[in-house]
């Protein structure tokens, strides 16, 4: 699949049934899926405990993983600027489990 078509969901754990973590920069884990919602890469977030600049480093991390879309609860201005520069689309206001967030996103996209 093409770079940038992957979706990263900010999560409390590495599986599709894990509850999402609403934070972008300091979520414990990114669950990265391909277009068919198959988990391709659960990534532990090394920035979760970082003092400063966690959002920026987390944004670099997901961009380097070839992610095109991030689903999260909220995203700070520094992380948002970094993701934008990397060409990553951010969808905020997501909630529920990772699977529920993906379903809602895909459903929304289908009706768009």
């Amino acid at each position: 699949m093409a770079e940038g078509s992957k979706i990263a969901v900010t999560s409390s754990g590495p599986s599709l049934d894990a509850p999402m973590d609403e934070r972008f920069g300091r979520c414990p884990c990114f669950v990265i899926v391909d277009a068919g919602a198959t988990v391709v890469d659960p990534v532990e977030n090394p920035c979760a405990t970082q003092g400063h600049g966690a959002g920026i480093q987390a944004a670099k991390l997901v961009a380097e993983k070839g992610v095109g879309v991030v689903l999260t609860g909220r995203c700070g201005p520094n992380a948002s600027d970094t993701l934008e520069a990397a060409g990553v689309t951010v969808v905020t206001g997501c909630s529920g489990t990772v699977r529920e967030a993906l379903d809602a996103y895909n459903a929304g996209k289908a009706t768009a």
């Binding site: 400063h52 920026i56 670099k60 970094t82 060409g87």
Partner: protein
């Protein structure tokens, strides 16, 4: 002599002790400077009421990237510990508020694509407050980096027989910067569990800096035993116990100074100053 007034816990009475010490020294006709180093919220002015005679900005150098010269090698992003400069995609992002102004990115850039430009982060101001030379720093709204502002404030302090440094609360970098160079530190505490907990941290911090310290217990009354025990155990002397007083609290709420509101407190602060300074 330079005396730092610090605390650990916020709201114990640092500014009360610092401003009253400065005022009693000035009333004795001595030259005294008061530095409000709580640059997030300097409030010594409420009590000393200076006539502000000067203001000057504090600027910090932050990187600026020449996109023409940059070849996106990424070395600037690697050396920065604070994610203040981040090569991403086809550009280099700069986050000025995260920058600690170390200049590392400029030094490592092989293309010489990085220059530095000044960014205003705070304002210093000062003036006479009935014989006390008042100085303060105030961070601009949204700024978080106080140590360089405290450093700038200390650098413009006028010569005086007595310099009182009113430190910010806590035990982190801004406090370390504020009390650096002091001959003695007075730790102001209150006889509460929180006051006691943070006093212990503050004693450790000041001890690690190798500066002699003494304790002033503010709003003293009952529950003094734990504080006395802690100080005795750490070999730190209690220089004064300022009693909890309704009339002083009322004066404080009107922005009045304890030494001007109550002769008993004036005597206490005169004695405290003598004790801290030792034989002159």
């Amino acid at each position: 002599m330079r005396i730092g007034i610090a605390s650990g816990k916020g709201g114990t009475g640092k500014t009360t002790v610092a401003t009253n010490l400065a005022r009693v020294a000035a009333l004795e006709g001595r030259t005294v400077a008061y530095l409000d180093c709580d640059v997030e919220e300097p409030n010594g002015q409420i009590f000393l009421r200076p006539e502000v005679a000067w203001r000057r900005p504090v600027t910090l150098p932050v990187p600026r990237v020449d996109a023409e010269a940059c070849d996106l090698c990424g070395l600037c992003g690697e050396i920065c510990e604070f994610s203040a400069i981040v090569p991403v995609g086809t550009k280099v992002l700069v986050f000025p508020q995260l920058c600690h102004s170390c200049g590392g990115c400029r030094l490592v850039c092989p293309q010489k694509a990085i220059t530095e430009s000044p960014r205003e982060v705070a304002t210093l101001s000062g003036g006479d407050a009935k014989g006390v030379q008042y100085l303060q720093g105030l961070l601009n709204i949204g700024e978080a980096m106080s140590p360089p502002v405290i450093r700038a404030l200390k650098a413009v302090a006028p010569p005086a027989e007595l310099v009182i440094v009113d430190a910010p609360p806590g035990t982190s970098c801004p406090v370390v910067e504020a009390v650096g160079g002091c001959d003695k530190v007075v730790l102001v505490t209150e006889p509460t569990p929180f006051g006691l907990h943070d006093l212990e941290l503050a004693i450790e911090t000041i001890g690690a800096l190798g500066i002699p310290c003494e304790v002033v217990v503010n709003r003293a009354g009952s529950n003094m035993e734990a504080t006395r025990e802690l100080c005795a155990g750490r070999g730190v002397e209690i220089a004064a116990e300022l009693p909890d007083s309704r009339s002083i609290a009322e004066a404080y709420s009107r922005g009045e100074m304890a030494v001007e509101a109550d002769p008993d407190f004036r005597d206490r602060f005169v004695a405290l100053l003598r004790r801290i300074e030792g034989p002159r």
